[in-house]
């Protein structure tokens, strides 16, 4: 049932995997130091803040992690801009009408109304949704966080009401991100029957050509066209990942 053996193609570079790992750590640190601030009147909020040594420490950790995340976000945008034209391992996250059609087609397929699954590219609509949710969420969190961090500066140019509005947006967006991660990312990367207990691609950096053929057929076709999908038949122990 699993098509994970055999020749591999690179899916995430080492730097991308590192980026994901840092994001994972920072997201958890930010949630752990942010949620007790949002729910500071709850017993668990108080206890978490007490464990971390008081609100001054919690804010310091939260803001340090936030600055690191913003720096990484800027790095990400620069890398995407610099590598957008190369033939393989390029960005491939551009949204198009096709993703909406894929979503609809996939709903029909999963419901059993259609026998054909949409032919996904390198990233399917779920992965693109997650990617853009993280990116857009980071922008909202960074902007609203900075407004709250530097209200004196903000109100030199903007009406003061943006400060309490940023506070509401920061809390709302945080909950949204948390729900998206717990429901959508955990399901698709951990609990979905074909990947349970964990999809290793983000940590090994590769997926098998065979898996690409099943889950990302449009990408597979492109790999074939570029002559990167060939190699020994699946299961061969001498299979080597093609250069990219």
């Amino acid at each position: 049932m699993r098509h994970w053996r055999g020749p591999q193609v690179e899916r995430f570079s080492l730097l991308q995997r590192l980026e994901h790992f840092v994001l994972l750590v920072l997201f958890n640190v930010l949630a752990l130091t942010g949620l007790p601030q949002k729910y500071s009147t709850s017993a668990w909020g108080e206890q978490l803040i007490a464990v971390m040594g008081g609100i001054a420490h919690v804010r310091f950790i939260h803001r340090t992690a936030a600055v690191l995340l913003v720096v990484m976000g800027l790095y990400h945008v620069v890398v995407v801009a610099a590598t957008r034209r190369r033939p393989v391992r390029r960005h491939d996250m551009r949204l198009s009408l096709r993703d909406l059609r894929d979503l609809w087609g996939d709903v029909r397929f999963l419901a059993g109304l259609s026998r054909e699954r949409p032919r996904f590219g390198r990233f399917d609509y779920r992965q693109k949704f997650e990617y853009w949710a993280v990116l857009w969420g980071t922008v909202i969190m960074a902007v609203s966080g900075l407004v709250m961090w530097f209200p004196e500066f903000t109100t030199r140019w903007l009406p003061g009401v943006v400060v309490p509005a940023a506070r509401v947006a920061h809390g709302g967006e945080a909950l949204l991100a948390l729900f998206a991660v717990i429901l959508w990312h955990f399901y698709n990367a951990h609990f979905r029957p074909d990947v349970f207990p964990m999809d290793p691609a983000m940590f090994t950096g590769t997926i098998s050509v065979e898996r690409a053929r099943h889950e990302h057929p449009a990408e597979y076709e492109e790999l074939e066209r570029l002559g990167l999908a060939g190699g020994p038949p699946p299961g061969s122990p001498t299979a080597r990942p093609p250069a990219s």
Binding site: R126, L158, V161, G172, P193
Partner: protein
């Protein structure tokens, strides 16, 4: 020679002060002999009563510990004590404010000019007096963490009380404060790090401690004309629109702080909607794995 004389003088002064303190402690011990007993009370002619217990340790920790009891309770040297002029406990406490004023003239004048003092002068009996906030015998400096972190609760004793505030046409503000940035910070300092004074604004930082006036009074530190200057006492670099970041201890609504309200409504809709869509897609995916896929394999 000169230095030696100074040294002698210093030793004498210290000894004198020390002896003075010791004498005061001895004198006060005579009073505490009766007044440290729990449940000591004074009954006034109208039947109202006032606790007269002085906790020796807490009095000893107060700023007034070096003072002899008779500094404030003049003439109370003999037992039985001479009769008091006050007809009620409240009248006694109001009269006692004159005693505080003999040393704390500046605070007393500010208090008399503020809303609280003016109401007392009009005869209001449910308005704070010196001792309502500072206590009679456990007075601590207001800059200490113990007093400062607790200031919102102190004011909240009255300013969280709907019925009491309605009598004076004042909005109930305590709850809203505890949910604001200042209030959240101060509350967490009080609960989690009670030994450190909160760096965030407590009531008295903006409203002053004694000359508290409604924002409609042009002389108030929180009147529209003065509020930005008041913000800048802490937020020195605050921009010109800074004061409008203030939501006046009020909940946002369609009419007030509209943008805040709209952002709130936006997330009230977006979060449940997103969760519903994601749950539906997840359920559909599971449906595929447990039902559709199996049926197709059998077919």
């Amino acid at each position: 020679m000169r230095r030696a004389r100074l040294a002698v003088l210093a030793v004498v002064a210290v000894t004198w002060l020390w002896a003075g303190r010791a004498a005061v402690a001895q004198e006060n011990a005579a009073c505490l002999g009766c007044h440290e007993a729990a449940g000591t009370e004074v009954t006034f002619p109208d039947g109202s009563r006032l606790g007269a217990t002085v906790h020796p340790q807490r009095f000893g920790a107060s700023v007034h510990a070096p003072l002899p009891c008779v500094t404030c309770h003049a003439g109370q040297t003999d037992y039985p004590h001479p009769p008091r002029a006050a007809r009620s406990a409240r009248a006694y406490q109001v009269a006692a404010q004159q005693i505080c004023a003999t040393c704390h003239a500046e605070a007393a004048a500010a208090y008399a000019a503020g809303s609280h003092g003016r109401a007392v002068a009009r005869g209001a009996t449910d308005v704070p007096l010196c001792t309502s906030c500072h206590t009679a015998h456990e007075v601590v400096p207001p800059a200490t963490a113990a007093f400062r972190n607790n200031a919102p609760e102190l004011c909240g004793n009255c300013h969280a009380d709907e019925a009491l505030m309605a009598r004076y046409g004042v909005r109930v503000v305590y709850q809203a404060y505890t949910e604001e940035f200042h209030g959240v910070t101060t509350r967490l300092y009080r609960i989690v790090t009670p030994m450190s004074p909160s760096p965030a604004a407590v009531c008295s930082d903006c409203h002053t401690a004694h000359r508290v006036l409604p924002p409609t009074d042009p002389a108030s530190t929180v009147s529209p004309a003065n509020v930005l200057a008041t913000c800048r006492t802490c937020h020195a670099t605050a921009g010109r629109f800074f004061a409008t970041a203030w939501t006046e201890h009020r909940a946002p609504s369609l009419r007030f702080a509209t943008l805040v309200y709209l952002v709130q409504v936006f997330y009230w809709i977006l979060i449940p909607a997103t969760v519903a869509v994601l749950v539906a897609l997840t359920a559909l995916d599971l449906w595929y794995w447990v039902w559709v896929r199996r049926r197709r394999r059998r077919a």
